[in-house]
């Protein structure tokens, strides 16, 4: 049936077509002849025919339902009009013709399908392209929703409170045994770090008198630090901030502001030890102070966190540096008892293993995963939106930012984060890499250097591939330099072994009036065994030059240069290399124009104002 709205649009109010409708539906050739024939208006054609209203209605219904182009509708309408007119001419009735014609809906559908097959090739090509593009877009949308809906709607469910584990030992300690309150008190009482930092120096520097006076002036406060160092526990309880950031409140972001305090106080105490070494007649106060700082380093390691161990190691190294300087400057200040006490304390530091516990990172990683992934109860889960946002924000800190401007980021992140491995796979890959790293770390440096690092090879494979880097993003963010920690651990061991050998040499000299010809002579009475050169795997290098012993390692180039430090192009000794603070490769030497040399462990090289 003709639609009322259409009638009103086209009608001139008297049931005929309006002028506009006639203009729209008149072929051009008729227009040019001045005739408004409306030949392209199929309804007009049907209504203008002499068919009965019921048949007209049938024809209009069929043609309308075909939803064909205008000219196609006109052609179909004309043909159907002719068909029914022929039928009437043959003496058939309206009912018979309508019955024989069949279902108008079916007819319209079949006519539409058939007429579309007659359309030109360009239309068919366009329709095919449209369908392909539509299908592709639909596929994209479905795929996007497949990733986006779980991503948007999921939330993590952390099960393990690693911060509570971190705080467990501190909370278990008797408050009276906790050093941290004393350190806080001392830190607040001391001049601010900037003021002290400006004038920090070493004996012999021009700032030393003023700095020394400042230390003397703050002696009561430094004694509070010493008091804290005598406590059996640090007792630092981390209080995590609460915020919308999913990483806040977790082990990954556990606040460790005590590390900077410990380091600052330890360095000040060591400088006070230097002051005492310059001013005292006996080594009692100096020895007590050195041991106090060792205790502080021990307290810093109270929590099994790698970064805490690294700071403790830095403090430990600083004690060794200070003792090296003092033994070079005034060895007579220390009695044999002092030296033996220091040797035992240094040897016993961290139960004999002063290295940073790399394996402790497992907890940080496990906490990170439980905060960014869901938990399916079977060891796996998928990344959440909050987790993806957290990872993306972490990439900013790592220098390969993935953050996209909003709102593009919000829309694109589900796709981007779909490339990240699920929780189970991520954990498995981490365990694999950590296993490699720990196996390698258990080997001494000289053994590790024999073969390429499997950890480094595997890690670089991840980091060098854009797809793999995204897939294992948390690992790439957390593990890039862990093998460097393993190398740093070797340096700590080397320095410890060297100072124990230096103490043994001094004790030997006192007893025999001369330096030993070989280090073997120190063992076993003064030294359990001759320490290894961690680079060479052979006994540490020893010679006597100008009446003084020289202890050295062949260093990173593995060549024995006869106890000569690296030198730059002008021939100046590059003391920082000589002290072994850097683990340098031959490429590194070449890059800075430095002649390779040995890592001189003793005697110490004085570094100007290196604090």
């Amino acid at each position: 049936m003709m639609s009322t709205s259409r009638m009103m649009t086209d009608s001139d109010g008297r049931g005929g077509l309006s002028l506009v409708a006639r203009l729209r539906t008149t072929p051009l050739r008729d227009l040019m002849r001045g005739r408004l024939s409306a030949q392209l208006h199929y309804r007009h054609l049907v209504l203008a025919s002499d068919l009965p209203p019921s048949i007209q209605s049938c024809v209009v219904s069929v043609v309308r339902r075909t939803r064909l182009w205008r000219n196609e509708k006109v052609e179909v309408a004309r043909e159907l009009i002719g068909h029914f007119q022929d039928g009437f001419d043959a003496g058939r009735s309206s009912d018979e013709l309508a019955s024989d014609f069949g279902d108008p809906l079916t007819a319209a559908k079949l006519i539409r399908r058939a007429k579309k097959r007659q359309r030109p090739a360009w239309w068919k090509a366009w329709r095919l392209a449209f369908r392909i593009i539509t299908a592709f877009i639909l596929l994209l949308v479905i795929t996007y929703l497949y990733f986006a809906v779980p991503y948007w709607t999921a939330s993590p469910d952390p099960k393990v409170d690693y911060v509570a584990q971190f705080n467990a030992e501190a909370r278990a300690s008797d408050p009276a045994d906790r050093a941290w309150p004393l350190y806080q008190q001392a830190s607040e009482a001391l001049p601010d770090a900037k003021t002290v930092g400006i004038i920090m120096s070493r004996p012999g520097d021009e700032n030393w008198p003023g700095y020394s006076a400042l230390l003397e002036e703050n002696r009561p406060t430094l004694d509070v630090v010493r008091q804290g160092a005598r406590k059996p526990a640090l007792g630092y309880v981390a209080v995590s901030p609460t915020s919308d950031d999913i990483l806040d409140g977790g082990y990954f972001n556990v606040p460790l502001e005590y590390l900077s305090v410990m380091r600052r106080l330890a360095m000040l105490l060591l400088d006070d030890a230097r002051r005492l070494e310059q001013s005292e007649d006996t080594g009692d106060a100096v020895t007590d102070t050195l041991i106090a700082v060792l205790n502080m380093a021990e307290q810093t390691r109270e929590n099994e966190v790698m970064i805490c161990d690294l700071v403790a190691g830095a403090i430990f190294n600083a004690v060794i540096d200070a003792l090296n300087e003092m033994l070079a400057d005034r060895p007579e200040l220390f009695t044999d008892e002092h030296l033996v006490t220091l040797a035992h304390r240094i040897s016993a530091f961290a139960d004999g293993d002063p290295t940073a516990r790399i394996g402790a990172e497992r907890r940080a990683f496990a906490d990170l995963l439980q905060r960014i992934y869901t938990d399916d109860g079977e060891g796996s889960g998928h990344l959440t939106m909050a987790g993806g946002d957290a990872l993306i924000s972490l990439t900013d800190y790592s220098g390969f930012g993935l953050e996209l401007p909003e709102p593009i980021g919000a829309a694109f992140n589900p796709f981007l984060m779909a490339g990240v491995a699920d929780r189970g796979e991520m954990q498995a890959k981490f365990d694999e890499l950590m296993g490699e790293l720990l196996s390698e770390s258990a080997l001494p440096m000289w053994r590790r250097r024999e073969t390429p690092s499997a950890f480094r090879t595997k890690f670089d494979e991840l980091a060098d591939s854009s797809i793999q880097k995204l897939r294992y993003l948390p690992i790439v963010l957390m593990m890039p330099a862990l093998d460097h920690v393993a190398t740093a651990n070797e340096m700590v061991i080397q320095r410890r072994d060297a100072i124990l050998a230096v103490i043994a040499l001094e004790l030997f000299r006192r007893r025999h009036g001369e330096w030993p010809a070989m280090l073997d002579e120190l063992s076993p009475k003064l030294l359990p065994s001759v320490p290894f050169d961690r680079y060479a795997g052979t006994p540490i290098q020893y010679l006597v030059r100008d009446g003084r012993p020289v202890l050295y390692s062949v260093g990173s180039d593995g060549e024995d240069h006869g106890g000569v430090p690296p030198r730059d192009a002008s021939g100046t000794p590059r003391l920082e290399y000589a002290r072994g603070r850097f683990s340098v490769s031959l490429d590194h030497y070449t890059k800075f124009g430095v002649t390779p040399g040995d890592w001189i462990l003793w005697p110490p090289a004085q570094m100007p104002n290196s604090n």
């Binding site: 043909e79 068909h83 024989d100 006519i111 058939a114």
Partner: protein
């Protein structure tokens, strides 16, 4: 005879139309009447089916359509067989004869039918 099943009509209908057009061009209603008369109503397809069929044949270029004035002065759309349509008709005819022969051998068509001998020889 009852009208045949739709699936059989799908194959038979277009062949019937092509065969009728072999004699000369015809218009839609004329085709409807001819099919009904010559097949005694067996291939009596609904007229809502005929025109789509003709449009399909036209799309496949098996028939050619043109508007002309008929004897009564009324404009009609006449359909004629194209060369391609003739070739298709020949092919379909061969296939239908082979089918009928096979059915006869199976006993479906029975013996002694008119033209049975021709089926055997062609």
């Amino acid at each position: 005879m009852n009208r045949i099943e739709r699936e059989l009509m799908r194959g038979a209908g277009p062949v019937a139309v092509l065969k009728l057009l072999q004699r000369g061009e015809m218009y839609g209603y004329e085709l409807v009447e001819a099919i009904a008369a010559r097949t005694e109503g067996v291939l009596d397809m609904g007229q809502s089916t005929l025109y789509p069929m003709l449009y399909n044949l036209e799309a496949k270029r098996l028939v050619r359509a043109s508007w002309r004035e008929g004897e009564t002065g009324r404009r009609r759309k006449y359909y004629a067989l194209t060369d391609r349509g003739k070739k298709r008709l020949a092919t379909e005819t061969k296939q239908w004869r082979a089918l009928a022969s096979a059915m006869q051998k199976l006993g479906v068509l029975g013996e002694g039918l008119p033209g049975a001998a021709q089926l055997e020889t062609k």
